[in-house]
């Protein structure tokens, strides 16, 4: 078992720098999830830890040992690929045992590990089948089973569930959580899926365009994002962003007026507030709109569409050029063109300066 440490890790493909100096400490046994938009470098970072991509600059250590120049096989990591990467011509059993057989492990030991791995992943009945005779979920299980064969100190998952249907995804997610508890090893997991990230992670690493934007526990990122990018990325539906302007600053607070809602003002504590007249952004999550009069200020919007999900409803509205999503109690009313007044609360909204950095 091992923790991981990335220090100023840089990746370049030719002249393009893809990862711009990532720093990350992962504790032994921790479950860390990488999230970020497509193309931000999640897979690249994961593959650098695995040894499938060279490290252009900086160091990667696993278990206290710098592994930059260590062969992938000697890093003690196992990886599960999005496409499963099973050996198509081998049975499940052969898939599981291939690596160990090829590296001269004792036959009895291999057989014992195959059995244990198959039991853990509940694939014992499938051992004689070839990958093409398996369903997506079964294949993914085999891929994970193969990963645990070598008893690695570190598991890497690159979007392992993204090819599965929604129901299976939930099921596999629970199994992964169980596996993490059972094995107690360090896991790094790449995903696009908010729910996977929020439910599985001890800590989430939010990446954007090759930079680590924030690292933190799921609810910390949700409650207290470091910047506008993280605020917009974590949480679903997305946080609303409304244009604002600083109209007054006094003893550690800033009064912000919402540009598209005349007269709506919020008083936000701000140690280092931008100057009066600066453009700022107020972020409010869909679930943080309150009934009219129950907050610090009211805004009135015209609803375009309402989505009724049964348990809640989402009202989509346009104010100025801003698209707003407002969560309301469950309802069955059509909302076309209705005017709706809702309240904002200063302690349930976030203030960002115009570069996107959080102002507190």
């Amino acid at each position: 078992m091992a923790g991981i440490s990335l220090k100023k890790v840089v990746k370049r493909f030719g002249v393009y720098e893809i990862i711009h100096g990532a720093d990350l400490e992962v504790a032994d046994g921790e479950f860390v999830v990488f999230v970020g938009p497509s193309g931000c470098g999640k897979s690249t970072l994961l593959r650098m830890i695995a040894g499938l991509e060279t490290i252009s600059d900086g160091t990667v250590s696993i278990g206290g040992r710098i592994v930059n120049d260590i062969e992938p096989a000697d890093r003690g990591v196992a990886m599960v690929f999005q496409s499963y990467a099973l050996y198509p011509h081998m049975t499940v059993e052969q898939n599981l045992s291939f690596g160990l057989r090829m590296t001269g492990h004792d036959k009895a030991d291999v057989a014992r590990r195959v059995k244990r791995s198959a039991d853990t992943l509940r694939i014992s009945e499938l051992l004689k089948r070839k990958p093409r005779q398996l369903s997506g979920g079964q294949r993914q299980r085999v891929a994970i089973g193969r990963a645990i064969m070598r008893e690695p100190q570190l598991f890497l998952f690159d979007e392992p569930l993204s090819n599965l249907d929604a129901e299976l995804r939930v099921q596999m997610r629970v199994e992964l959580a169980r596996l993490h508890k059972e094995l107690g090893v360090t896991m790094i997991y790449v995903t696009h899926d908010q729910t996977e990230a929020m439910t599985l992670a001890d800590r989430i690493v939010v990446l954007n365009a090759g930079n680590i934007e924030q690292i933190g526990a799921p609810l910390d990122l949700y409650d207290d994002p470091a910047n506008r990018f993280v605020a917009g990325f974590v949480g679903s539906p997305k946080m609303n962003f409304m244009a604002g302007r600083i109209v007054e600053t006094n003893n550690g607070a800033a009064i912000v007026e919402l540009v598209n809602h005349r007269g709506a003002r919020l008083r936000k504590p701000a140690v280092d507030a931008p100057a009066v007249g600066s453009d700022v952004v107020i972020g409010v999550r869909p679930e943080h709109f309150f009934n009219a009069g129950e907050g610090d200020c009211d805004i009135t919007i015209k609803a375009d569409v309402a989505e009724h999900l049964g348990s809640v409803s989402y009202v989509y509205a346009n104010a100025g050029r801003e698209e707003l999503i407002i969560e309301r109690e469950a309802s069955r009313q059509r909302a076309n063109g209705d005017h709706l007044t809702v309240a904002l609360r200063a302690d349930r909204s976030l203030l960002f300066d115009k570069t996107g950095a959080r102002v507190r």
Binding site: L52, A78, F81, S83, A85, G99, M102
Partner: protein, 286 residues
Amino acid sequence: MRLRTQTAYAFLTPYLLVFLAFWIWPIANSFWLSFLNTRSANWTFNPRVTWGRLLVDPAFANALWNTLIILVIQVPIMIALATVLATLLNSSMLKARGLFRFAFFAPVVVGEVAYAAVFRLMFNHEFGIINKMLAVASVPAIPWLSSPNAAMAVIIIAVTWRWAGYNAIIILAGLQSIPEDVYEAATLDGVSKTRQFFFITLPLLRPVIVLCVVISVIGTMQLFSEPFLITNRGGPGQATETLGLFLYRQAFGAFNFGYASAIAYTIAALAIVISLINLWLGRERE
């Protein structure tokens, strides 16, 4: 018949007529011919002098033997070479891949007569470049085109040169269909590159390789141009006479069309049988 169907057939008719006249009719007619004695003034039914002769004719046995020898030596060497070439072509280290791909494919489109003439020159006893190079390595000159075994070797080398690249391109397509992450998984499992080749690449290439073997077997069974042009009609003597050449000699040398038809059917039957054996050996085992 509905109008649409009629229209379709109307459009197909020219092709079907050509197909009938130049494919079906010769195939059917030669089958009939193979039972006739075509050396008498009026052709009479007499399979003894066609099919019966195949069993006892030493010249046929010689041509069959030569063809099988070439097949057994040339096809495996060529396919192995093609696999190696394809693997090199697929290497990420290779620059100018397109150029190499074209270069390997080029021999197929070179005119047969031109290529045969070049080979004759290269393997010329006195001033061919091959013997010159052997001389540099202090190997005595080999009478390539006048020694039976050496002439066979020249044929095998020529055919291999001509078709190895072609097969390599087919195998390359097979290689490129193997997903990269399978190798990455094996690398993480600690499996060496060599073992990856033998335990992952080769098994996954098997269908493609079987296809190449079948194509090559069919080609070699019909081998004609090389012994006709390079070793001057199967020379020295009949040392490199293949079934294709023997067929040609019977049909257009001796005008014995009945016997030639029987030979043609034998070639086709052998090609089918050997191909089926290959397909069976290379089948997917569960």
